[in-house]
């Protein structure tokens, strides 16, 4: 109890839009812009129109910190997918000071934090009233009566056409486990922005194309007539090994075409990607994936092949060795382990440089 009253007091003492202000001391404006890649940028401007200095809680000004926008699609609230933090009472350092006439401007990409993949009219308002600043309803009511917890803006509107797949090859695929953020059977978690979703769909189509190419190679060859493309990555062919390669690529291709693959965009680490082999078909994409080309060595398409090959229900591959030179040596020294190595599958599918 002591803590809560102290908490409330500190809000009273320092919150910008204080009880005795007749008109709002802080003026909030939101502008929305749609980018050609499908992302939506919102520019927030908070201006101090008051005579004296005003303070605003810094996490009220950052979408990476709080649910600061209220967004509806055709009148229905769009769910916020960003973080929710449980915070201690704010201290002096948590406030941004604005001098009289000074303003603060920040731009945020919205589609990574709100599901804006469907077509419709989106209305965007900056609104921090709904922040869970107060732990019990009594405190919240009191704060509302004193107009303490509300800071709102104009409503900016934008019409979005929704994300569409280019090929539409995955129609009829089952969705991955109840999530509504899916396009033709490919699902997204971990706050994939609209542009990321579009890039993933494109990379998946590229992965499908190189997987099909790998399958057709294996269908038109046999253990007795493999070429350098096979021997470079999988070494000496026996019919058992050749059949393993064939079964692995058929399973990878099936995963792309028919299984509910989910991509997660929350990883900010330097890796290309990771999976839990026992948890199909969820692929976590990291920084190096976004920096990679769509096709070629260690590409986005190849990374998808690599990751799908790990799933126990697909090919159950491991990481035995990394990189092209490692995979080439492994093919010579241990062909069985090459067929257990995800990178070897990736490089066979990428086929860069092109081998016959």
């Amino acid at each position: 109890m002591k803590f809560s009253s102290k908490f409330l007091l500190s809000i009273f003492a320092t919150l910008a839009f204080s009880a005795n202000a007749i008109k709002p001391a802080l003026d909030v404006n939101v502008d929305v812009e749609t980018l050609t890649n499908g992302d939506v940028n919102a520019t927030l401007t908070i201006t101090n129109n008051h005579k004296g200095q005003q303070k605003v809680l810094s996490w009220y000004t950052d979408l990476a910190e709080e649910h600061i926008f209220h967004i509806t699609r055709d009148g229905v609230e769009v769910q916020y997918m960003g973080p929710h933090y449980k915070r201690p009472a704010p201290t002096e350092n948590d406030y941004i000071k604005l001098k009289s006439g000074q303003s603060l401007t920040k731009t945020f990409e919205l589609t990574a934090n709100y599901d804006m993949s469907e077509a419709g009219q989106y209305d965007i308002t900056y609104d921090v009233k709904s922040l869970h600043l107060y732990s019990n309803p009594g405190q919240l009511k009191k704060a509302e009566r004193l107009n303490l917890a509300s800071l709102t803006s104009n409503t900016a509107s934008v019409y979005l056409e929704g994300l569409l797949t280019k090929g539409g090859t995955n129609k009829g695929k089952p969705d991955g486990g109840g999530s509504s953020d899916c396009i033709d059977g490919t699902c997204f978690t971990g706050r994939c922005s609209n542009s990321q979703q579009t890039e993933i769909i494109s990379a998946l189509a590229a992965a499908d194309s190189i997987a099909n190419n790998a399958v057709s190679y294996l269908n038109s060859h046999s253990a007795s007539n493999v070429t350098t493309r096979y021997t470079t990555w999988f070494g000496n062919a026996t019919s058992a090994r050749f059949n393993t390669a064939k079964a692995n690529f058929e399973a990878i291709d099936d995963a792309i075409d028919n299984q509910p693959v989910t991509f997660d965009c929350s990883c900010k680490k330097t890796y290309f990607a990771y999976v839990y082999p026992s948890q199909p078909y969820k692929v976590y994409l990291c920084r190096a994936f976004w920096n990679a080309n769509e096709l070629g060595t260690d590409s986005r398409a190849g990374t998808i092949i690599h990751e799908l090959s790990h799933f126990n229900v697909v090919a159950g591959t491991d990481d035995v060795v990394y990189g092209q030179s490692g995979a080439k040596s492994l093919a010579i020294s241990d062909p069985d382990q090459a067929l257990n190595n995800a990178d070897s599958h990736e490089y066979f599918a990428e086929n860069t440089p092109n081998l016959n």
Partner: protein, 167 residues
């Protein structure tokens, strides 16, 4: 059955059972590193199932071992092959990462005749319950950087070890 054979067999069994720790050592088919895995034979599930991996630089020079795919980096790939008494392989529950080029911090320096070891809780990555298990190290390729900057590759092929897990 021949009585004398029976006696030998029984003595042999006693000797085996009296070992608290089972140690498997690699036959050195290479010049630089020797790997070992060992674990207490009887372990309790509630205390975690601990396995120690040790890698020794058997050469006369200091070298750098890439930690990737070795137990030294923890469960970043499927490190062990674990089979239960029915011969069924346990699924690896941990993650696998596709990484970019290794950085300096990914290498571990091992001085001549020194070793590095790590003890891992197998329950972090495999669902072991009460029963008998056979465990072996999966034959990953270890990348070794020698003093002159040349690179050597080596796989550790170790015999498996057996453990019994009590509930």
């Amino acid at each position: 059955m021949d009585e004398r054979f029976k006696a030998y067999w029984f003595t042999g069994l006693i000797v085996i059972l009296s070992f608290i720790t089972f140690i498997a050592m690699s036959t050195p088919t290479h010049r630089y590193l020797q790997c070992e895995i060992f674990a207490e034979h009887h372990q309790q599930n509630s205390h975690g199932i601990m396995l120690t991996y040790k890698v020794t630089n058997t050469s006369a020079q200091s070298l750098k071992l890439l930690s990737w795919y070795t137990p030294l980096e923890g469960f970043m790939s499927n490190l062990f092959e674990i089979t239960d008494s029915q011969g069924k392989q346990l699924a690896y529950q941990g993650p696998m990462f596709k990484r970019v080029q290794p950085l300096e911090e990914d290498f571990i320096v091992i001085e001549a005749n020194n070793s590095r070891s790590i003890t891992l809780n197998l329950l972090d990555a495999y669902s072991l319950t009460a029963g008998h298990y056979q465990i072996s190290l999966r034959p990953k390729v270890m990348q070794i950087e020698l003093a002159q900057g040349s690179i050597s590759k080596q796989q550790c092929l170790l015999p498996s070890i057996n453990i019994t897990v009590d509930a």
